[in-house]
Subunit: 191 residues, 2 copies
């Protein structure tokens, strides 16, 4: 998605330690009009797949998921990273390590909101090592739901997550794929 | 908002301990088409207030904030509950106690995304004791931003938060105001 690559070049900041900061428009301040365009793009890609649910994980996936779901006219469900007091005891759960935050999380989705017959599009802001997306796919497997695709706004294509998911048979589509990046040389996108 | 009251009556579940579970459409599974209607209602209420930014707090406020912001054509910013590795060191912060989760949180917003000249609409899924909204108003005060209103999807009007904020001079608008609720007697809305 050309518009996204341009936006990342313009507003993204690369720091040591493999950090791409895009929190001016994607995951702290959210440029909602721009993310609507992102949502339309995901809809364009997956519109013929019978998607009836979008699954993401709190917190930074929620904006992308909601603004995309409106084009599919389907609900968005966000996996929680901890068991809140009001989720009840009936939930699917899968472990995911977060390299960004250096923590292990257990992703949780109530059994009421993910089940057989669901055709799920998994969405997230970033795809890097693939831990979160893999855990969400596990939640879908537990639930007997079909994963029709995995969509990421930005993929760090030099990390293993995207290709591992593709090898496992998932249709992974990322709107911007970064081939390499560094504070010195900036960002190079995949051809 | 009649449509919302009907939805709460239909799908909301009241549990002991002052819990109203609306996670089938509001804060775990999100009925995005429905929340677009909620967003239009907030736009209708605050459209003449020069809103240029919507502020909420992760995680359950993000859906409401994003789906509302698209009608204002302004960005949504979500306060974080913990300092993530990539937020930097330049942020506003304010303490908020969460009665739902029994934790104290420090809400954080990067100084880059909240400042002088901003006209902020604070939005959240629930308004009860008002801790989160008050903390967000504090963030705005620190930043020198104007708070043009505080909007909640559901207000527990029998708790003190909404009226305390109104007494402090904020324009608080809740789309459904609950006068009382209990597992035995169900939900009664304010007239």
């Amino acid at each position: 998605m050309k518009l996204l690559e341009e936006r990342i070049r313009k507003d993204g900041k690369v720091y040591a330690g493999d950090v791409l900061k895009v929190d001016s428009f994607l995951n702290h301040q959210i440029d909602v009009d721009f993310l609507c365009e992102v949502g339309k793009e995901f809809y364009h890609i997956y519109k013929d797949c019978g998607v009836n649910k979008i699954l993401t994980v709190e917190a930074s996936g929620i904006g992308v998921a909601c603004l995309t779901a409106q084009y599919f006219h389907c609900p968005a469900v966000f996996a929680k990273k901890s068991k809140t007091s009001n989720i009840g005891n009936d939930f699917w759960s899968a472990k995911a390590h977060s390299y960004t935050h250096g923590t292990d999380n257990t992703l949780i989705v109530s059994k009421s909101y993910l089940g057989k017959g669901d055709r799920v599009l998994i969405l997230d802001d970033f795809l890097a090592n693939g831990c979160a997306a893999t855990a969400m796919a596990e939640l879908c497997e537990q639930a007997g739901a079909a994963v029709v695709g995995v969509g990421a706004v930005i993929e760090k294509a030099y990390q293993k997550g995207g290709d591992a998911l593709r090898k496992s048979g998932f249709r992974v589509e990322s709107l911007a794929r970064i081939a390499s990046m560094s504070p010195e040389d900036g960002i190079r996108f995949c051809e």
